[in-house]
């Protein structure tokens, strides 16, 4: 019971802090002080206090977009185990649901973007679906590999059964998986080198351009949903990459939170030391990630 309460509290409250940590890391690399760690929270509070403007050319689809996206991501947050603790909701085969909850949220983001009829948002939607259909196989290969190792189809079991022993036994496979998962983490969350979340140039955007027409609370939901998605996929990555368990519940929670903040710093460092890829190069990197995870699976199957 305690774990469930902590799970919900961490999953709901921590995500914006990750964005704050990324921002602070990037600022440090650029020689700036940077915005406060809690700035994303202030931004969300500000947005939720604002009114919304809806274009007259849009329909209910446009308004449903942020709601469905946030709801799907919230549910995915309940399916994923955090640290060494099982998820509040779990059943056999929930890994398929987990993957397609992201599919659902993406579908509604893109269809809301298409609903505006803007040529920018149409371009963004086209890019988003192109890249995500290349990113999806990687996630599935990774989950299948882990499922094969843990002999389970439940996400909680799959992710919590990764132990240092498995790393020792199938190190090569795990290393490939971690590489592939990190690429997917960056791609799915629109970070550099795939997308630049800070750019103001509509023509180069992928995710940001799709939400240009949203404002106020709806936009707040989108920002919060994006932070939550980073958190959920980050949790998957941390579970696989850092299989440390002390046995003490609270110590494990502390390790998990520190690991998540460390991941945010890593993302900040990656964003600081490299430039964005050309858009035509993005699929190549995503296919590379798929190949990595496919090799990981072959190594496990043998």
């Amino acid at each position: 019971m305690t774990d469930i309460i902590i799970h919900c509290a961490v999953a709901l409250l921590l995500p914006p802090l990750l964005l704050g940590v990324i921002g602070k890391t990037k600022a440090a690399f650029a020689g700036r002080v940077g915005a406060p760690y809690l700035q994303p929270y202030y931004d969300l509070i500000k947005l939720f206090q604002k009114g919304s403007v809806f274009s007259e050319t849009t329909t209910w689809v446009f308004r449903a977009g942020p709601v469905v996206t946030l709801a799907a991501t919230l549910f995915a947050a309940l399916l994923v185990p955090l640290g060494r603790h099982g998820a509040p909701v779990s059943f056999s085969g929930d890994m398929i649901l987990f993957a397609y909850l992201f599919g659902l949220s993406r579908f509604f983001t893109t269809i809301a973007a298409l609903d505006t009829g803007s040529s920018f948002e149409g371009m963004g939607a086209a890019r988003e679906v192109t890249f995500s259909c290349l990113a999806e196989p990687t996630l599935f290969f990774a989950l299948i590999t882990l499922a094969r190792m843990s002999k389970s189809l439940t996400l909680s079991t799959i992710l919590t059964s990764v132990t240092p022993a498995i790393w020792l036994a199938a190190g090569a496979s795990m290393l490939l998986l971690v590489g592939a998962l990190f690429i997917i983490l960056l791609a799915e969350n629109c970070r550099i080198p795939f997308d630049d979340p800070n750019t103001h140039l509509e023509l180069t955007m992928i995710h940001e351009v799709m939400v240009l027409d949203h404002s106020g609370p709806a936009f707040g939901m989108i920002l919060y949903g994006a932070a939550l998605k980073l958190f959920v996929l980050g949790a998957v990555f941390v579970n696989v990459a850092l299989p440390v368990a002390t046995g003490n519940t609270f110590a494990d929670w502390a390790i998990f939170i520190i690991a998540m903040l460390g991941l945010a710093v890593t993302i900040g460092v990656v964003e600081s030391v490299m430039a964005r890829l050309r858009l035509v190069r993005v699929p190549q990197l995503l296919v590379g990630a798929t190949i990595l995870s496919a090799f990981a699976m072959i190594l496990v199957l043998r």
């Binding site: 650029a30 040529s119 750019t199 140039l201 180069t204 430039a275 890829l277 050309r278 858009l279």
Partner: protein, 506 residues
Amino acid sequence: MNGSFRILFNGSAVPFADIPQVDPVPFLQNILDAIDRGRRVVSYFGIPGAAETTLVCVLADKTEGRLGVTRTVTREDRLPTLALLCPQLQLFEREIAEQCGLTFDDHPWFKPVRFHRPFVPGRDAWNRPADVPLKVGVMDYYQVAGDDVHEVAVGPVHAGIIEPGHFRFQCHGEEVFHLEISLGYQHRGVEAGLPGGPHPRTLQQMETVAGDTTIGHGQAYCMVLEALGGIKVPPRAEVLRGIALELERLANHTGDLGAIAGDVGYLPTASFCGRIRGDFLNMTAVLCGSRFGRGLLTPGGTIFDLTADHRDDLLKRLAAARRDLTDAVELLWSTPSVMGRLEGTGAVSREFAVKLSLVGPAARACGVKRDVRLDYPFGIFRMTHLPVATAFHGDVCARTMIRWQEAQKSMDFIEEQLQHLPAGDHRAKAAPCAGRHLAVALTEGWRGEICHVAITDDEGRFARYKIVDPSFHNWQGLAMALRGEQISDFPLCNKSFNLSYCGFDL
């Protein structure tokens, strides 16, 4: 150039009557022949009269380092176009059409340039009614039809803090087939306000023709007045002007290097260059109290002198800025992801650069060795020659590299000039302009060749003053750079050209 041209040098004046006047058809033929022989049109404009239009064309001959002027008078309101044979003339002809109401038959791209009324009311090349307000950017755009082809319109309202312009992309998926650029939103009527001048405020207006090219345009204007007044500028003033011009180049090139890094999402260089640009601006402020060089120049010299203390201060600041800039820019070349993004993006071939008559760093990046400081030297550059940096590939990487190389040369130049500052006065007495003369001044602003031409009336007042900003030549280069490129690369290509909207719109 043959007898149909009056030869003159950069920064000199000739009596207007000495310029050979030929009939329109030989006039056009002479221009064609000159371009065939490798001359470039640096200015081409019309002077609308009561019933006739005078056309004046200034061509530059690089091998001889001199300029040639020719003119014609036409009573017709139609002329055959040269744009089909010489693409570099297409925008000049459209401008003449818009200002003087001449129609160019068979012009492939006959559209308004800035969407303003003609200088003489009623003489409208497009017969637009006088009572309907002109809307900027409202015209027929080229369109590509077919499956999977879509049109993307960007601007004039822009997400960043830059000037307004309208861009129409004809795209096939992510690939750009064609980009059409429509400007005119910043039109202030600079040229229309100049006849009758020089007014006391004209110098200040010239400094703001393009706000980031204060010294470039300011010096061109001063050179025109000095040529018309027969003023000899003291050497000390020439050196100070040269230093200010190179500081302007340094500040803008540094800003561009940072902005290019920012556009590819590479933070360190973007942040550092943003600050170092400020260092160069502050050095300009040491010269004259204004970070953008306002109020430094005056016809006859400079308003401010440089004391020994200030000189030492500048040398110290320059050394520090050079160190910082070198560190910040070297990061670009040593980061593979940045180079992967810059190389091969937005390439313009040498052939197109010559055909479109690109100028400045954009031309030099295509391997076209073209620099007013070397080709038609003015001011201090008659004494000291700066090496011209060129590149081959004509892509974003080449344009970035050129900026860094020019910045290095400019720093060398400033350091050397500061150490050997000539003694003497920094200002000569101004003199009234000679009447019935034509004066031409070319300077190399940081964007490239700036051309000012003035024609005076009987009393020595401006009858016509023509300004050609480097952006006037280069916008078409940007459009060509986008052909066959990814639409997502447009912001980066745009930044690598970094052209002026207000300098074009005048």
